[in-house]
């Protein structure tokens, strides 16, 4: 790419280039900022359509099995904790609000505000994952796995912190140490850019542990009251297969969203956004709203069955 841009500027096509008064962030193949913005906007909408269709297979499986085995779904949903699910829903809704505020700030060219709002959005995403980790690992402790590994054992859940939860927290813990260390290193350099970026990343990962702490606190408060069924349906594992597939795929999208948001955060710190150039914030925002929206469907479908 650099080579081509070299040619681009070496006078061969100089006249061609100057004719369009290209801004700093307008790619060479677009005629104007509007054309670039329109292309990006349409691209992200089409991409969101593919995302919806990507999830559609799982929604189809859900509809089919719920239609054929409603009793499994009614019984299985008792294993899901409505309060944690509702809490996560509120967290994601709030993150959508801050994302919308970030988009507005980017349109006004207020890069500092964009950075703050995007950071809050990322922290919310991490909290969501933390709570989800508590929910998942709690189920694994009780032997609630996908269909073939499903081995429910109610007596297993009450011994301190779950081993699975510790395992799940290794990567976030390592990331926290890593980002924190880089932020400390950034303290020594001038300018504060690195400090702000890596510090933000560290705060973002901290969100995961806030989520885990909150989730565990709630679990402790509710006193480990568990649904104790008299007799489990022999195919109840299919519900959890679908549950893990849907929420797992959604969690991957949350992680993808965090990476995209980190990129926006970086560019906000570098003051890239201007009233005539804010497309990436807008587009990542749209993606984030979709991730949020999918959860809005998943929550009632999985947690609120009656």
């Amino acid at each position: 790419m650099s080579i081509e841009h070299g040619v681009h500027h070496d006078g061969l096509h100089g006249d061609h280039h100057d004719a369009h008064h290209h801004g700093k962030f307008i790619a060479h193949h677009f005629d104007s900022a509007e054309q670039q913005f329109d292309a990006g906007k349409m691209g992200i909408w089409v991409f969101l359509v593919t995302e919806v269709l990507f999830f559609s297979g799982l929604f189809c499986a859900y509809i089919l099995y719920r239609y054929h085995h409603p009793e499994i779904f009614v019984q299985a949903h008792h294993f899901l904790d409505k309060v944690l699910g509702a809490g996560n829903t509120i967290v994601l809704l709030f993150s959508s609000l801050t994302m919308a505020l970030a988009v507005r700030a980017s349109q006004l060219g207020q890069n500092r505000s964009v950075a703050i709002y995007v950071l809050i959005t990322m922290v919310c995403a991490s909290i969501f994952l933390g709570v989800k980790a508590v929910e998942y690992t709690h189920k694994w402790d009780m032997g609630i796995f996908v269909r073939s590994f499903f081995q429910y054992d109610d007596h297993h859940h009450a011994e301190g912190i779950s081993r699975y939860l510790i395992l799940a927290s290794i990567v976030p813990g390592a990331l926290l140490a890593c980002f924190g260390g880089l932020a400390l290193l950034g303290m020594t350099s001038k300018g504060g850019f690195e400090k702000a970026f890596w510090g933000g990343m560290a705060i973002m990962v901290l969100g995961y542990f806030i989520g885990v702490g909150g989730g565990m606190f709630y679990m402790g408060m509710s006193g480990g009251e568990h649904y104790t069924p008299t007799e489990l349906h022999h195919d109840i594992g299919i519900f959890f297969s679908i549950y893990y597939c849907m929420t797992g795929l959604h969690a991957f999208h949350v992680i993808g969203g965090i990476i995209a948001l980190a990129w926006i955060y970086y560019r906000s710190l570098a003051c890239h956004w201007r009233p005539d150039y804010f497309g990436p914030v807008d587009n990542v925002g749209l993606y984030w709203h979709l991730v949020d929206l999918i959860w809005i469907f998943l929550f009632p479908l999985l947690y609120l069955i009656n």
């Binding site: 790419m1 080579i3 081509e4 070299g6 040619v7 681009h8 061969l12 096509h13 061609h16 790619a27 060479h28 193949h29 677009f30 054309q35 329109d38 292309a39 349409m42 691209g43 089409v46 991409f47 359509v49 593919t50 995302e51 269709l53 990507f54 999830f55 559609s56 297979g57 799982l58 189809c60 499986a61 089919l64 099995y65 996908v146 269909r147 073939s148 590994f149 195919d235 594992g237 299919i238 297969s241 679908i242 893990y244 597939c245 795929l249």
Partner: protein, 567 residues
């Protein structure tokens, strides 16, 4: 080109500074964002996939020369046809015309400098590479014997490399989705000033309809393959009857993608043919809007017919009837295209050059492939023909007779544009003849033996089918020789062929306003929009040995076309 300075005036200075020599070194190709270079890399890649899968096909046909074992065991035979199908479908046919030819031609036809998202375009290519590598890894390490359809529950039980292969197909799916997104957005936002939707070349309409399918159908394949991988690794019980799952659900999901994917394979080919027929008949395309809308109609109807692959799967009778009826309606837009092509040729000034010969054989072969589809859409006859060689012959007539023929036609047509050099006309014609004859000798006997009950996917067969199989094998060898000669001709032309000017065929679409090969930015001057099928705008200039826009030359030039040279 006899007069360089004049050529420079019209086509720009790019004959000397073109996209091929603008920068050097492998990095300038590996990290290029130029749609033309990505198109060329795609072309090399899909050609490799075609040859690999083609070798498998020839091995299969060689084994079938006698009813008994020659050199492949039954298990090896199963692996061979699976790899032939999987690599042909996922790594060759689906990306062939859109990603290779389309990438090169689409932005230029629109008068744009590049596709809307060049980075996504490069990423799409590398996803193609990764996906193909996974397919090859599956092939080398553990092989694969499920058929390209990966039907459950067998694909859950078999010991072969289903996970690597399905992951490869999953990644290839994303490559396809990204190409689709890019093309949709490029067509919407980057048309040349003055080019409305109904002034677009029909190849663009074909690619646009293809992109719609790529974007709407491929994600469903993606999630289906992920669920299959999860089923295999974790036994989630969605497709596996042993754990309460439904294997027919997999078939529904799979064909919800893979039937529309059939149109991903054929629609771009139809677009190419629309261009070729019009250019080499030197006549305005007949029924432009009918051809354009029939592409979109095929794309939409393609989503509603997947159940016709499952007539014998035990789905309800009512559903079967509905799918059968909708399948028949697909014949209407397909026929609209064929009749419009024939009407375009009627009273045209037809030049029987290589691309036109390919276009004409496309119409013939697609006609047979399309009409035999109606036999299979009819419920009664399908019960008899299901899973026989009749089906094999039918879809090969569409995919090879259709898509491969169109790809060759398109390559010969745009080759001078891509590399600035002319191919050898005689070799081109020999290619076309061998492909046409070889193809028919291969697959026509398969219709006959299929209707007499020869099942597909069998390594051994009854002695009564021996003669058909032997004809088929001989035809396959002829076809293989034809394909190799074709690529040899093209490769030779790209390096050693005589240089040619910007517009040697007198085509009116915008890509011919650039030099051959085009400059890095495609056009060095402002693109002058002309109607894509108004050939009166293109006049032959002897000094340039090329067609130019009539406004460019002195008014006394002859408007009567000089036929493209032929041997």
């Amino acid at each position: 080109m006899s007069n360089p300075s004049l050529a420079q005036q019209y086509f720009g200075h790019a004959a000397q500074h073109n996209y091929l020599n603008v920068s050097k070194g492998w990095k300038s190709w590996a990290f290029t964002l130029d749609h033309k270079r990505i198109g060329v890399m795609y072309l090399i890649g899909v050609t490799f996939a075609l040859l690999l899968a083609g070798v498998f096909a020839l091995l299969l046909r060689a084994e079938l020369f006698t009813p008994n074992k020659m050199f492949l065991s039954e298990a090896q035979y199963n692996q061979m046809f699976t790899l032939h199908g999987a690599i042909m479908v996922f790594a060759f046919i689906i990306p062939s015309i859109p990603a290779a030819l389309g990438n090169f031609v689409l932005p230029m036809m629109l008068g744009a400098k590049d596709v809307a998202f060049p980075r996504l375009n490069l990423m799409s290519f590398y996803l193609w590479v990764i996906g193909t590598i996974f397919l090859v890894i599956a092939m080398i390490t553990n092989s694969l014997d499920t058929g390209w359809t990966f039907y459950t529950p067998y694909s859950i039980r078999t010991s072969t490399g289903v996970v690597a292969a399905t992951f490869g197909a999953f990644v290839l799916g994303f490559s396809s989705i990204f190409t689709g997104i890019n093309f949709l957005v490029t067509v919407h936002t980057m048309r040349a000033p003055g080019m409305g939707w109904f002034q677009m070349p029909l190849f663009i309409w074909g690619l646009y309809a293809t992109a719609i399918i790529q974007v709407l159908a491929t994600p469903v394949l993606g999630i289906t393959l992920l669920m299959l991988i999860a089923e295999r690794l974790l036994h989630i019980g969605i497709f596996d009857p042993k754990y309460g799952g439904d294997p027919v659900l997999f078939q529904h999901f799979f064909w919800f993608y893979s039937h529309p994917a059939v149109y991903i394979m054929i629609l771009p080919g139809m677009g190419v043919i629309s261009e070729l027929i019009s250019v080499y008949s030197r006549k305005k395309i007949f029924g432009y809007s009918f051809i354009a809308f029939s592409s979109v109609a095929i794309a939409i109807l393609g989503f509603l017919v997947w159940g016709h692959h499952m007539f014998t799967s035990g789905q309800s009778e009512l559903v079967t009837l509905i799918f059968s009826a909708i399948t028949f309606t697909v014949a209407i837009p397909s026929a609209v295209k064929v009749f419009n092509w024939l009407s375009t040729m009627y009273k045209g000034c037809i030049a029987l050059v290589t691309p036109m010969l390919f276009a004409m054989s496309f119409i013939f072969l697609f006609g047979i492939g399309g009409l035999t589809g109606l036999f299979l859409a009819t419920l009664r006859t399908d019960i008899h023909l299901h899973d026989t060689y009749f089906v094999v012959a039918h879809f090969h007539y569409v995919m090879v007779g259709g898509t491969l023929t169109a790809l060759f036609g398109g390559l010969f047509h745009w080759w001078p544009k891509m590399f600035g050099r002319m191919y050898n006309e005689l070799c081109g014609k020999i290619t076309c003849l061998l492909v046409f004859v070889g193809f028919n000798v291969t697959f026509f006997p398969q219709f006959v033996m299929g209707s007499r009950g020869m099942p597909r996917r069998y390594a051994r067969y009854d002695i009564e089918f021996e003669a058909f199989h032997q004809w088929s094998t001989i035809g396959a060898m002829i076809l293989g020789v034809g394909v190799v000669i074709g690529f040899a001709t093209l490769v030779y032309a790209a390096f050693r062929g005589p240089r040619c000017a910007g517009n040697p065929f007198g085509a009116a679409t915008l890509e011919w306003q650039s030099s051959s090969p085009p400059s890095f930015h495609n056009f060095d001057h402002k693109v002058e929009f002309t109607s894509p099928y108004d050939f009166s705008t293109q006049v032959y200039d002897e000094e340039l040995d090329s067609y130019v826009h009539r406004n460019f030359t002195a008014p006394a030039k002859p408007a009567v076309p000089v036929q493209p040279q032929s041997i």
